[in-house]
């Protein structure tokens, strides 16, 4: 796999329109087989015939989900530790959510304020700064939970993990790039971290959509304004792989976000600034390399004034 000038292609959901083949062709990905990470599909992992047909290439799924399940089944102590880690992460997320709710309400109220523009602007900045501080705190705490787990269960101290990591490394070596599918972003991150894939991605050409794209940023931000349980404030789930810094990827915003609610969009955009919040809707294709955005087809970013604007190539 290449080690410099890697190509990163980020896409919106591959339904109803599939644009992966077109995007890969335009990106000029080197010939050869591609590795696939479809762990986010969980039990449906490896069901990649459709992608294979579209791309017309040999694909090799890494089966991170299945590998993880087998590993846990063979090593109850590892399963118990992973469960404890998830329990702690969920608890942490729950407490973060309690605090987030209040700060988000306050920030939204501030953004509605009129009057003395200097005073209002200052209070708005402070309200958003508090949200950012909470996000940072949560990210830091979540990472420390992960660090504790990784310190105890890593390939150095765990031979089976080392063997799996070697197998995966060999697959990476014979592939021209890696495709990361959408699906459950938490599962995806968990499995990639368990097998140390997040660190290997740095040197890879990557094509990813939806959850796959989210996982490549430094922070994974969850959002859904239209879930049956009601509107919720966007939440930082935790750290992503950090392969693509400076962006927060938000897939399927047309379905999931109240895109016409300028106040919500403004808050989202300002809260995660200086990262750029990028909407990846169906049909969107974003190509980046080391020097920034090379191509952006129907990709929009969230603006600080609460509007969606077209993302342009550098």
């Amino acid at each position: 796999m290449s080690s410099a000038g890697q190509i990163r292609v980020l896409l919106g959901p591959q339904s109803p329109q599939q644009n992966i083949a077109e995007a890969v062709a335009e990106a000029g990905l080197p010939a050869g087989p591609l590795a696939v990470i479809s762990a986010a599909w969980q039990e449906a992992e490896g069901d990649i015939d459709v992608i294979s047909k579209l791309l017309g290439r040999e694909l090799e799924d890494l089966y991170l989900y299945r590998r993880g399940e087998e590993l846990m089944a063979n090593h109850p102590e590892l399963e118990a530790a992973a469960r404890l880690r998830q329990h702690k992460l969920m608890d942490r997320q729950r407490m973060y959510r309690i605090r987030l709710k209040q700060l988000s309400i306050a920030a939204r109220h501030m953004l509605k304020e009129n009057g003395d523009s200097e005073l209002v602007a200052s209070e708005q900045r402070h309200a958003i700064a508090q949200l950012r501080a909470l996000d940072r705190h949560h990210l830091h705490r979540s990472e420390s939970i992960w660090r504790d787990f990784c310190d105890a269960y890593n390939p150095d101290s765990y031979p089976e993990l080392a063997r799996q990591a070697q197998e995966l490394g060999e697959i990476f070596d014979r592939c021209a790039g890696v495709v990361i599918t959408g699906g459950n972003v938490a599962i995806l991150i968990n499995r990639m971290r368990l097998f140390g894939i997040d660190e290997q991605l740095e040197k890879c050409n990557i094509v990813a959509w939806s959850a796959g794209a989210m996982a490549l940023a430094e922070r994974v931000v969850l959002f859904h304004d239209r879930s049956p349980e009601g509107r919720r404030d966007a939440e930082v789930l935790g750290a992503g792989c950090g392969v693509i810094p400076g962006y927060v990827f938000l897939p399927n915003t047309k379905q999931r976000l109240r895109t016409g609610d300028r106040l919500r969009v403004e808050l989202l955009s300002r809260r995660f600034s200086p990262d750029t919040c990028v909407a990846l809707d169906n049909g969107a294709a974003l190509r980046l390399d080391d020097s920034g955005v090379q191509q952006a087809n129907t990709v929009r970013r969230l603006n600080h004034d609460g509007r969606f604007v077209k993302l342009r190539a550098a």
Binding site: P13, R83, P228, E229, R232
Partner: protein, 378 residues
């Protein structure tokens, strides 16, 4: 008069053939905006509309339309309403309750069937219908030897599709489980909501009582049965998440009372309650105005209102606004909230029936047990 009936009668009383054609090509009852006209055809001394809606006459007479064997009455029903009704037909001095012969839409409950009137704007939610694309869970039968009730108790257990013994699942205890399955499409609802990621895969214990008005009416034996017999049985039989937030109880009507009572008697055991049209009778002064079956309920509710404690962390409540119980349910909400309990209360333009309870399941279940939708970005 309804425009269709006016047209039928525009040249006076119609011939039998014209009525036959009218009946054959028309959907009943006749919905014209918020006006709903109920029509009965047949020989009778009197016909009444019975729809047990709080706020309306219990028996509203239909008017005979000329010399035609047609009877009709019109009521106003707000948009989105759904009511159940029967006709009470008097012949030879005898009265008989029947479903509307001109309306094929029926709702079933343990006492039989009622005709259903869907006012302008009502649509049955798609997630209540069987979806062949949704992976189906499985219903298993189990038995518990109950010391509390001194006999065997049969239950059904809903096990979600792709169940794995190495996973852990939330537990939902469902009162009147067989009725929820039969009359509120609970299995399809669970299959669909799990498939749509709106709720997580969960295990449901569907219980039934041979004497529900007693056992569900704030009976301490029932609370003990749930806590000391059912819960341990489920915990040893299935991989459950061992936390109150992952344990819920639900029920409708007296099942709602049983749910609240069991959680109140066993604080800290059940984190989530789903209470539908709970029969929460109480009295501020004097005796309650309902029947003797409510005596133990009112006694419990009066005590509960004095000392609610913390029966659960989150409670979803729903009630139809055409139910007399709407007053009791509304009253309960601020009392629960004052205890720091997170409460979501939903009112519907519906009455005390299974389809009302069915139609509220999505909001209740997805709020109490949020699914992975939040984490899934396809």
């Amino acid at each position: 008069m309804n425009p269709l009936l006016r047209k039928l009668f525009r040249k006076g009383a119609p011939e039998r053939a014209a009525i036959d054609a009218f009946v054959a090509e028309t959907e009943f009852p006749l919905v014209d905006g918020s006006d709903v006209t109920f029509v009965f055809r047949g020989a009778a001394e009197a016909v009444y509309l019975r729809c047990w809606i709080s706020g309306l006459d219990t028996a509203q007479p239909l008017q005979s339309l000329g010399d035609t064997e047609l009877w009709a009455t019109t009521i106003e029903l707000p948009k989105g309403s759904r009511i159940e009704y029967k006709f009470e037909v008097q012949t030879n001095g005898n009265r008989e309750l029947i479903v509307d012969p001109l309306n094929d839409v029926l709702a079933h409950d343990p006492f039989g069937a009622n005709s259903v009137c869907q006012a302008h704007g009502y649509e049955r939610p798609s997630w209540t219908l069987h979806d062949p694309g949704a992976r189906a869970g499985e219903l298993r039968t189990a038995q518990i030897k109950s010391r509390v009730f001194n006999g065997d108790r049969e239950l059904q257990v809903y096990v979600p599709a792709r169940f794995r013994s190495n996973r852990r699942y939330p537990l939902l205890i469902v009162h009147d489980g067989a009725d929820y399955l039969r009359f509120a499409a609970l299995k399809d609802v669970l299959d669909n909501l799990i498939h749509a990621l709106e709720i997580p895969p969960l295990i449901a214990a569907l219980i039934h009582s041979p004497d529900r008005l007693t056992e569900y009416g704030a009976d301490d034996r029932h609370a003990s049965f749930l806590s000391e017999e059912l819960l341990p049985f489920m915990s040893t039989s299935y991989p459950l998440i061992d936390e109150p937030r992952a344990r819920g109880i639900m029920g409708a009507s007296f099942g709602g009372v049983a749910s609240l009572h069991a959680a109140w008697r066993n604080p800290g055991q059940f984190g989530q309650l789903l209470l539908q049209s709970g029969s929460f009778a109480f009295s501020d002064i004097g005796r309650h105005q309902r029947g003797p079956a409510f005596d133990s309920v009112a006694e419990f509710m009066n005590e509960f209102r004095e000392q609610p404690g913390n029966p659960a962390d989150r409670i979803y409540m729903s009630c139809g606004i055409y139910e007399s119980l709407i007053y009791e349910n509304r009253s309960l909400v601020p009392r629960l909230q004052s205890q720091g309990i997170e409460v979501r209360f939903e009112e519907a333009r519906d009455a005390h029936n299974w389809e009302n309870w069915r139609d509220r399941l999505r909001n209740g279940l997805s709020w109490l047990f949020p699914g992975p939708l939040w984490l899934v970005y396809e």
